[in-house]
Amino acid sequence: RADLFAYCLMLGDDALVLSQRLAEWCSRAPELEEDVALANIALDLLGQARLLLTRAGEVEGLGRDEDALAYLRDERDFRNVHLAEIECGPFAGGDFATTMARLLVFSTWKIAQYSALLGFADPVVAAVAAKGLKELAYHRDHAAQWVVRLGDGTDESHRRMQAGLERVWPFVEELFAAHPVEQRLGLDPAAYRAEFDSVIDTVLAAAGLKRPTSVPAARVNGRAGRDGVHTEAMGYLLAEMQHLHRSLPGATW
């Protein structure tokens, strides 16, 4: 049960934190159609996060709901991968190309992960995975189209797209490292690494881009996002996300 709780948090936090990042584009996208698309993707992920965090709270059995878990947990207890939390634009640390690089990597990985969960013992998680797969297929498609367009656009867009891939690539290894919680639940992310690589290679080939060469980000004491050890960007994200909720204790919304 503790493992299932932790695993629901991992999945829920991945979706919640990336949703938070993508929503930052709202009113800042390169074109209006993209404002709509990115908001849509952020909404899908937020929906997944709500179901997963609600499920986590039920499994835990201490009466915490989605909001208690989203707003009143400290950084150390968030279990999302680093890829979801790093800054990839529109603010410092990225641009639209970097955002699309992350979205391609994230959704390609998530599709493989959710596919592996279709027969998972917990029926709620399995159902979220099934529903999520349809959404993620659209996310991956959208990202892949942009990666191709930018890779095969102008010199500037090609350079930015390659740089965006290099920026996010160090966070790929963490996606496929089995956490003890996953191991105990009989899950092995490494099993779908080959599938991931083959999808990415196909997109990169269509885009005329090179497989990134940046080396994997180092862990701290062997620990990373799944253990609650995050990057420095995470604290600022949570401060912004949680401040209002924490400022009015006992309020209902």
Binding site: R28, E31, D35, R149, G153, H243, W253
Partner: protein, 310 residues
């Protein structure tokens, strides 16, 4: 002019004008200006509410708000599409917006300073917008009228959501109730200004009414909004900050005070609390996105060429 007389007869007979129909230049220009201004308002209107997405106090509220701001982008898209049926160029209209040559609704030049503002904008601002827009569902130009039907439907939904947020907050803690009242105090007068200046000072109304672009005067709509809103405020338990507000049984309407029209003209003139910020934000997004749009165009062109060759 036979054509012109024919056109006048058609619109006064409540016939719809469609893109391929002949229309006077003034009608076309007035429409482009009005629809573009409306589109710009949707786009700029994403900012004040978008300001709270990252800080929404519950995940449910975050989802509602994100969906709403997304709808505004969608409305902007329909409306720009409507201007294109009149021969306008979307890129050019965007330039007009970021260069300050075209306006947008003055209400969005006020800052959003608490989460209650999200509710207040839904209730009062969308409420006022609906009063303005419902008659436009019967406006003489077909594509505009059809866009407005869709938009009005979504706006009503947003208005109910806004009101529901305020209701929830009013039944919450003292701090939440104070937040709502403070927000209503800030947004009441600007909401009344959304109907434009008093009829006596409104330049464009007469011709627009004749062309059936507009169907009610500013003051008529403002009265309708006040009449609709006062009972809602009572039900909510907030005080509208107008000492002159009182039911007038003889008129069958509420009497109310006048907004500060000097403030209105200042805001319309580009000098409201957030005009510079709103336009700068839009301009930055537009400029930052330039390389992306250029890349998409280059890719599409190359792709088209290759298909032509194949």
């Amino acid at each position: 002019m036979d054509l012109e007389a024919e056109f006048e007869r058609a619109v006064s007979g409540e016939q719809r004008v469609e893109p391929r129909d002949w229309m006077p230049d003034g009608y076309r220009k007035t429409l482009i200006r009005q629809i573009a201004q409306h589109a710009h308002s949707e786009i700029i209107g994403m900012q004040p509410e978008g300001n709270w997405i990252s800080r929404a106090p519950s995940l449910r509220r975050k989802a509602i708000l994100l969906a709403k701001v997304q709808d505004e982008a969608g409305h902007g898209l329909y409306l720009y599409a409507a201007t294109e049926t009149l021969g306008a160029d979307r890129g050019e209209l965007t330039e007009n917006l970021v260069n300050g040559r075209q306006k947008y609704s003055s209400i969005f030049n006020y800052p959003t300073l608490s989460y209650a503002d999200v509710g207040t904008i839904g209730w009062l601002v969308d409420g006022a917008a609906i009063c303005n827009q419902v008659p436009l569902c019967r406006t003489s130009y077909g594509p505009y009228a059809r866009a407005m039907i869709r938009i009005c439907k979504e706006e009503s939904f947003h208005q109910r959501q806004g009101y529901e947020l305020l209701m929830t907050m009013m039944s919450g803690t003292d701090a939440q109730r104070a937040m709502v009242q403070e927000s209503v105090d800030r947004f009441w007068w600007p909401s009344l200004m959304m109907f434009g200046p008093p009829d006596s000072e409104s330049a464009n109304t007469e011709q627009s009414m004749k062309w059936r672009i507009k169907r009610n005067t500013n003051d008529e709509l403002r009265q309708k909004f006040v009449d609709m809103t006062v009972p809602q405020a009572e039900k909510l338990g907030v005080t509208l900050p107008d000492p002159a507000l009182k039911w007038n049984p003889e008129r069958g309407h509420y009497d109310f005070g006048q907004p500060d029209w000097d403030e209105f003209w200042q805001v319309v003139g580009g000098n409201g609390p957030a005009n510079a910020q709103r336009v700068a934000h839009r301009r930055k997004a537009h400029e930052d996105g330039e390389w992306v749009r250029a890349a998409a165009a280059a890719h599409a062109a190359r792709h088209a060429r290759q298909e032509g060759v194949a």
